[in-house]
């Protein structure tokens, strides 16, 4: 029953958008996607999106960074080329550990931050020179767009969207 027709409703205020999303969902319509010029607080909850799991990945990436720092400093400063710095000969990692804490910290942050950004891009299917997906350039300015798939219920949806405060409602035929 899937159709290639979608309906686009344009809003000009984030609060109107939030309440509209709530009414649309309470009427049991499935919202395909919402395009906004900036992150709208509470929209993810209103859309019923699952919680992001990026925090868990951040923790894992941080642990990887910490491990890399420990192994790296152990190889550089203890195994490969022990040096005597400030009367503290580098023969034991543990005894010299305080000196490596800044490296451990920086590597943890470095790995967590960079790998998180890369993960985010991959999950959002973003890469350099990618063509923008948003259907209406106004959503990069100050308008909000709600996209709903149509199942021969154009009239009903159009009136619902108009009532919810949309400034413009249009029906788009998608090219596959």
């Amino acid at each position: 029953m899937s159709s290639n027709k979608v309906i686009h409703a344009l809003y000009d205020d984030d609060d109107t958008l939030l309440s509209a999303v709530k009414t649309i969902r309470s009427e049991k319509h499935h919202i395909e996607e919402v395009y906004t010029p900036f992150p709208v607080h509470g929209l993810d909850k209103a859309l019923g999106l699952e919680d992001t799991r990026i925090a868990i990945m951040a923790f894992i990436y941080g642990c990887i960074g910490l491990t890399v720092a420990v192994v790296m400093m152990n190889f550089i400063m203890i195994q490969d080329w022990p040096q005597n710095i400030g009367g503290k000969p580098s023969f034991s990692y543990l005894e010299n550990m305080p000196a490596f804490v800044p490296v451990m910290f920086e590597m943890t942050v470095f790995f967590a931050a960079h790998l998180m950004v890369i993960t985010f891009y991959m999950r959002s299917k973003l890469w350099p020179f990618k063509k923008a997906e948003n259907p209406n350039p106004l959503t990069t300015d100050d308008k909000f767009l709600v996209e709903i798939e149509l199942h021969d219920n154009e009239k009903e949806l159009t009136s619902l969207l108009k009532k919810s405060g949309a400034i413009d409602v249009s029906i788009i035929e998608k090219q596959e």
């Binding site: 925090a55 923790f59 400030g86 009367g87 503290k88 305080p98 000196a99 804490v101 800044p102």
Partner: protein, 457 residues
């Protein structure tokens, strides 16, 4: 309005009684003469089966007696360097005697300062909320004002202990002893700052400044409840901003005076910040715990998960901040390894190994792992658990700041330490909850109250 439940009042009084008994026992069992001190040391040696702490702290004592002398009283060691071995033994006995007679005083001082520091930390947090015109926290203002009520009594107790020190009733501050100063060039050079009259004047000025701010801020806050305009709120904003400037300068000097000067040869430039971080995180933790307690009793119905979540974030963040400062201080001194600086950490690592590193686990690793998860910060049970560990950890922090210089390797967490903790805990609970009954728990006149009540994350 909140009423002070009898159960809690009785608990607070029971804590005070138990604590008082513990302190009394501590003072009575402290040696009054050199002979008694020798007997105590001999007894704990021949026993050999005391607690593990006693063992650990006494075993290396014989061997590094000379080192301890060198570390703590360079003056004494220098002036006696020509004396015979017997001379050294006598000197050592006298040194241990001083440490043992200091012990109950130091225990009293650590506990008194710790609970005073909580109230001061909360006052700083409160002033920051006021000065920043924070929108999330006004629902917690009355809780904070309740906790800061302890500032005056707690501060007076600390100052009384300091006055008794200047009267030579104890030897917590060796720079107060003219005998020591006469033989110590380093301390003699600091007498312009470290002398009893100036020291006490500073203490009184600092405490009056803090208490005055607290008095007026509370007054304006209560007046705002029934006011028709915002003049009280604006006045509160202004005095809070002014207080913060006063506070950060005086808090820093206070930390040199009341804590760092116990070890008058040693200094650290970020000590003020370090003590600040400790009092700030203890204060925020106390706010969270009092809030959760009141909420569990059916009060503070306007405080929601998000407020607790924010307090949890602060507990997490400031715990990491504390560790950052602790480590910054430690690593620079450890790496440069300059004798007059590094003695501070050598005594702590050698004689205070367990409390020194244990506190790091309690104040950093435990809160880091427990409070990292966003969801856990909304679970009261986690906040309380983390809070208890953080508070005990910061008690250990103050313990580690004061004890090594005051009692050396003669430390032990016994009757006076536990008694002191419970006495001031009881006093703290009593005063804080008494103050909470004096005003409605919702500062309803605050212009940000609506925002705070609707606050959600």
């Amino acid at each position: 309005m909140y009423t002070f439940p009898n159960k809690l009042r009785n608990l607070a009084i029971a804590f005070m009684v138990i604590g008082f008994l513990g302190l009394t026992y501590g003072f009575l069992s402290a040696p009054a003469t050199l002979e008694e001190s020798k007997a105590i040391v001999a007894a704990s040696h021949s026993d050999g089966h005391g607690t593990s702490h006693e063992e650990a702290s006494h075993d290396p004592q014989e061997t590094n007696a000379v080192e301890v002398q060198a570390g703590h009283h360079e003056d004494a060691a220098a002036s006696h360097s020509t004396s015979t071995e017997e001379g050294h033994d006598v000197d050592h006995d006298e040194h241990v005697f001083h440490q043992l007679s200091n012990k109950p005083w130091a225990a009293l001082y650590v506990a008194a300062f710790f609970f005073f520091m909580i109230a001061l930390g909360v006052l700083a947090f409160y002033a920051i909320q006021r000065a920043a015109q924070a929108g999330w926290s006004p629902v917690l203002y009355r809780v904070m004002e309740g906790i800061t009520a302890y500032l005056l009594p707690g501060g007076i107790v600390v100052i009384v202990i300091l006055v008794l020190s200047t009267l030579h009733l104890n030897h917590l501050f060796i720079w107060m002893d003219p005998e020591v100063v006469a033989h110590d060039k380093l301390i003699a050079g600091k007498t312009g700052f470290l002398n009893a009259p100036f020291f006490l004047t500073r203490a009184v000025i600092f405490l009056s400044g803090w208490v005055l701010y607290r008095y007026f801020s509370r007054k304006f806050s209560l007046a705002q409840d029934s006011a028709t305009d915002l003049s009280n709120h604006k006045k509160n904003f202004r005095i809070s901003a002014a207080f913060l400037v006063f506070y950060i300068v005086t808090e820093s000097i206070m930390s040199w005076d009341w804590i760092m000067s116990i070890d008058p040869h040693w200094f650290s430039t970020l000590f003020g910040w370090y003590v600040f971080a400790s009092m700030f995180v203890s204060g925020i933790t106390t706010i969270a715990m009092v809030t959760i307690y009141l909420k569990s009793k059916g009060y503070l119905e306007f405080v929601n998960d998000s407020h607790i979540h924010d307090l949890g974030k602060f507990m997490f963040g400031i715990s990491v901040f504390w560790t950052y400062l602790w480590f910054s201080q430690f690593m620079l001194i450890w790496y440069s390894n300059i004798p007059e600086e590094v003695t501070y950490f050598i005594t702590r690592i050698e004689d205070y190994n367990l409390p020194f590193f244990g506190m790091l686990v309690m104040n950093f690793i435990f809160p880091l792992l427990i409070l990292m998860n966003s969801d856990y910060k909304r679970v009261n049970y986690f906040i309380v658990m983390a809070g208890i560990v953080i508070l005990l950890g910061h008690y250990m922090d103050v313990f580690n700041m004061i004890m090594p210089s005051a009692v050396g390797d003669q430390w032990f967490i016994g009757a006076p330490e536990i008694g002191g903790f419970f006495f001031f805990l009881g006093l703290f609970i009593f005063i804080v909850f008494k103050e909470l009954t004096k005003a409605p728990l919702l500062a309803k006149g605050d212009p940000y109250m609506g925002e705070s009540e609707r606050f959600h994350y």
